[in-house]
């Protein structure tokens, strides 16, 4: 029943987007909104994949799926307003449409987490692609060991999915929140996520990590985890880059010999080092 999105089979044009009707918009923080978009055909996708989302007249951008696929075909997209296209998306109301192409990219490898402890490291909007992973781990708690989320934001007000985080805690996920700069209502951690490894009480050698956030954070976290004994092929991250096509043609997303859109966006630290992807 779930159709894999090879949209518009009729003329085989991969650049024609499907119409996604926006069914619901949730304001998560001052500049982040969650959009639920319904497509004509339900779409199947995996955590870690992304869609090319377009607003006609403004352009097309890559956005990760931030939910697990569901029968009603409503992928959720968590979008931060930063520029031309994201602003255009934020100006849309429910009942209006976005263009949707995809899903593209490889997605997170799930089998390597079977039976192991999981460390999830998120920075800012980097939580978006990691959320479906967390949902998956909650759904199937027996498949993994202990799951820890280390999540850093700039300020307490910028913590995305703050309410959900409480639910995640209740479902057995260990959550460490931290902010760069606190405020009066904040009595939690202050500092960069990479300062909180001691809170992750896990045998790093046997665990697996999923990381997403700003590039500096990704680099630091990967290096630290490797140093802490985690094998580099189990340190997994998803990378961001400029993208125009999502299908390996436009060239914008190059990283060493790889195209992030088709060979990634998910890479292991091992690949990143061997292929000199992040420099």
């Amino acid at each position: 029943m779930k159709g894999n999105l090879k949209n518009n089979k009729k003329n085989g044009n991969i650049y024609i987007p499907l119409n996604g009707r926006i069914e619901e918009i949730i304001q998560l923080t001052s500049d982040v909104r969650l959009f639920k978009a319904k497509t004509e055909i339900p779409i199947d996708y995996k955590p870690g994949q992304f869609f090319m989302i377009s607003v006609w007249g403004s352009g097309e951008i890559p956005i990760s799926v931030t939910s697990l696929p569901e029968k009603n075909g409503m992928p959720e997209l968590c979008i931060r307003k930063t520029g031309v296209v994201t602003t255009a998306i934020h100006s849309l109301q429910t009942g209006q449409f976005v263009g949707l192409r995809g899903p593209y990219g490889n997605g997170f490898p799930m089998d390597i987490s079977k039976g192991r402890d999981v460390v999830i490291v998120a920075g800012g909007i980097g939580i978006a692609p990691l959320r479906p992973l967390i949902q998956q781990f909650i759904k199937k708690p027996n498949e993994t060991g202990k799951v820890t989320l280390l999540y850093g934001s700039r300020t307490p007000d910028e913590i995305i999915f703050r309410d959900e985080v409480e639910d995640w805690k209740k479902s057995g996920i260990t959550v460490v929140l931290t902010v760069d700069k606190g405020n009066d209502n904040w009595n939690g951690n202050i500092g960069l996520v990479t300062g909180f490894w001691p809170e992750v009480r896990t045998n790093f050698k046997n665990a697996v990590a999923y990381i997403c956030g700003p590039e500096v954070m990704i680099k630091a976290a990967m290096r630290d985890l490797f140093f802490l004994g985690m094998p580099d092929d189990r340190i997994i991250t998803t990378l961001e880059s400029h993208m125009k096509c999502g299908v390996g043609k436009c060239g914008h997303c190059y990283a060493g010999p790889k195209y992030i859109c088709t060979d990634g966006p998910v890479f292991s630290y091992k690949e990143i080092k061997e292929q000199s992807i992040l420099k």
Binding site: K181, G191, D224, L228
Partner: protein, 703 residues
């Protein structure tokens, strides 16, 4: 697919390129391989010169509005027919002329339009309206050249040709960021360097061309006269003067020499900050090699001492006799694709085409006879004077063709006020721009791809445009609009095509005497002076004798910039361009790749200054001068020396010209874009991220 040879619409290099046409649409650009300037290359602007042509923002039909000060309803532009628009313009211009006299109207013609169009525009101003109030943006870049060199040599243009550069032995580049602003000339310079030439660059900033230089002099902004005088002083003292040349071909050396004595390299070091030893070294290198070419651009002209700077350059080449030969001369690099042509065509308040002055009764008589109208005798207003008069309410109407003074002019607040106070403003352009927001009538013009005519590049090469497609929408070529309007004002201009206009130009303009369209079709144009139909153009100027006979040494003296830095405004601001942008961005701002490269304005600041002020790379800062303030991103770089900041002038947001000083050169009336005093403040204090004590990873690892 058809391919049509034409000329790049961006800079004064005048590269030859092909426009690719398919189904009436321009789908690409490629360089001409055998063109003497670009030889198979193009810069990024040229390579993308196709994209803006069909941009949706193009003006497609005439627009008018009832009252720009009225209710929002009245203020809105509405599309009208050409008849309605032109009749309206004709009627109102007529009325204003009758009521306030012809000199209450000002015309801006355009360095982006063809020679034919500029010629018609000046004919329109002088014969139809009866005013000499015509000027264009050359005022803002090279009027000092036109004035300065005309006085010294009798002709203000590049004396050599671009194709000579590669064979020169010494290249002395002052105040020009050649590789970025005249990329294809930069290419020839690099070729010369590869072949062993010595490259000397004088520029306060470490520009790209400076990185190729063997010697880079970083004089303080605004001290060019002193620097050049120092070099000349050294030349005289070391006995490197070409005495024979000075004696036979120049005059007035002795008076000049008296002043020169005061500028010993040591004194000049104190003024410019350039080591006396370097000054002597440059003097020797430049003077001792015959194949020495001197280049300059806006870094020389845009000062209150712009004309003096130019004169100093002229004196230097005369002193050494480095002029009037191939690979030896003085070369002002003109910015816009047709700024040379717009000047040649008399888009200036004091001259007709070919620099024949309006005050010369003989010249005036000739034009009066040809145009069958009495012509005004007094030189007209310059661009800035027009703005001032408009501000005072004395200038009532303006007709602006292909220019955007609301970004490019200094002291924008003043210009905005001035335009607002006009009774009537007509803007004729291919895109709506900042200036057209103040217009009463907007006339849609055709782009370079939709018309024919000629451009004159910086080496005086008159080249033919190729019409590639039909005009977009209802737009019309500027020359058609002008002649139609003129007919409606009772002066028939009846040209079958631009070639007929060119014939008239040739008839009335000695230096264009032999330049006719059919001759331009072969090869890649002709370089003026080209006196008659058998003349094959002139590769380099002032051979055997100067255009005015003897070259004149004009005495110059160092005058400090109008607004030196002080305690309140401690930085020197200099403005300029960036490679991916062009002028006010009406064309390249509508080109995806160019727009993406430099989407926003920035200010360059030296790392030490930045550190002192607590400014981080890419953080927001506020730059203010006595005239206004702008907020923009800081770009911390060594390219800019201590005490100087640089801002590109292209951007509408954070327009640098809100800050610049409208003080002008006394004779050329060119504004001092290159120097004014500003202060810089960080907008956000760098916030300290509180870090937890770094984790001892080693300790963790053991667990």
């Amino acid at each position: 697919m058809n391919k049509i040879l034409t000329v790049c619409p961006y800079c004064g290099c005048g590269c030859g390129l092909y426009l690719h046409v398919e189904n009436g649409q321009i789908v690409g650009v490629s360089p001409s391989r055998s063109h003497p300037v670009n030889m198979g290359s193009l810069c990024v602007k040229g390579w993308n010169a196709h994209e803006f042509i069909a941009h949706p923002d193009r003006l497609k039909y005439p627009l008018i509005r009832k009252n720009r000060r009225g209710s929002p309803e009245n203020r809105r532009f509405s599309g009208v027919s050409w008849d309605e628009a032109l009749n309206l313009v004709a009627a109102i211009l007529d009325e204003i002329k009758k009521k306030h006299g012809p000199d209450s109207i000002g015309i801006l013609s355009s360095a982006k339009c063809t020679n034919e169009e500029n010629y018609l525009m000046m004919k329109f101003a002088r014969a139809v309206l009866g005013t000499n109030n015509i000027d264009h943006c050359a005022r803002l870049c090279h009027s000092s050249t036109v004035g300065g060199l005309a006085a010294a040599f009798g002709s203000g243009a590049m004396t050599n040709s671009i194709s000579e550069i590669a064979d020169a032995k010494v290249l002395f580049v002052i105040g020009s960021n050649t590789t970025e602003q005249h990329p294809m000339i930069g290419m020839h310079m690099l070729e010369a360097v590869d072949r062993g030439a010595t490259l000397i660059v004088a520029d306060p900033r470490r520009t790209k061309i400076a990185e190729f230089a063997h010697i880079h002099l970083r004089q303080k902004s605004g001290t060019d006269v002193a620097l050049l005088m120092g070099i000349m002083n050294a030349i005289v003292n070391e006995g490197l003067v070409d005495v024979d040349f000075v004696r036979r071909r120049t005059e007035n050396f002795d008076t000049f020499e008296e002043t020169l004595r005061r500028y010993s390299p040591d004194i000049v070091e104190g003024i410019t900050g350039v080591k006396a030893g370097d000054i002597r070294r440059v003097a020797r290198i430049y003077a001792m090699e015959k194949r020495s070419m001197l280049f300059y651009a806006m870094g020389i002209t845009q000062h209150i001492t712009g004309v003096d700077n130019v004169r100093a350059c002229a004196n230097l080449v005369m002193l050494t006799g480095h002029i009037g030969l191939p690979m030896s001369g003085l070369n002002p690099l003109r910015g816009q694709n047709n700024v040379q042509g717009a000047c040649d065509m008399g888009g200036l308040p004091n001259v007709y085409s070919g620099y024949q002055t309006v005050t010369d009764p003989g010249a005036r008589k000739k034009f009066e006879m040809a145009w069958r109208r009495r012509l005004p005798e007094k030189p007209g207003l310059t661009l800035m004077e027009m703005m001032d008069r408009a501000y005072e309410g004395k200038l009532k109407a303006m007709y602006i063709m292909g220019e955007n003074p609301l970004i490019s002019d200094p002291d924008l607040t003043h210009v905005r006020e001035a335009l607002e106070r006009l009774e009537f403003l007509v803007v004729q352009d291919i895109f709506p721009n900042e200036t057209s927001e103040y217009a009463d009538v907007i006339l849609p013009a055709s782009s370079y791809a939709e018309k024919d005519g000629t451009f004159t590049n910086t080496e005086r090469r008159v080249q033919l445009l190729g019409k590639a497609i039909e005009p977009v929408g209802e737009s019309r070529p500027d020359w058609e609009i002008i002649s139609d309007l003129s007919s409606r004002m009772g002066y028939t201009m009846n040209y079958r095509g631009t070639y007929e206009i060119m014939e008239e130009i040739a008839l009335l303009t000695p230096s264009y005497g032999g330049i006719l369209h059919h001759r331009l079709q072969e090869g890649f144009g002709l370089q003026w002076p080209c006196h008659d139909i058998n003349h094959s153009g002139t590769q380099y100027l002032h051979r055997k004798k100067f255009a005015r006979g003897l070259g004149t040494f004009i005495t110059v003296d160092f005058v400090p910039p109008d607004e030196p830095p002080d305690d309140e405004y401690p930085f020197l601001l200099t403005t300029g361009r960036v490679y991916f942008r062009y002028h006010t961005g009406t064309m390249c701002g509508r080109t995806a790749v160019l727009e993406r490269e430099e989407p926003e304005s920035f200010v360059e600041i030296n790392p030490d200054d930045a550190e002192r002020l607590g400014i981080r790379n890419r953080s927001m800062v506020k730059v203010s001068s006595r005239r206004g303030a702008i907020e923009l991103k800081a770009y911390v770089t060594n390219r800019t020396p201590l005490g100087i900041v640089f801002i590109p002038f292209h951007f509408r947001d954070a327009a640098a010209n809100i800050l610049t000083n409208p003080a002008t050169d006394p004779s050329a009336k060119i504004p001092e874009y290159k120097v004014c005093a500003v202060k810089v403040e960080p907008l956000v204090r760098p916030q300290k991220v509180k870090r937890v004590p770094s984790v001892d990873l080693e300790a963790l690892r053991i667990t």
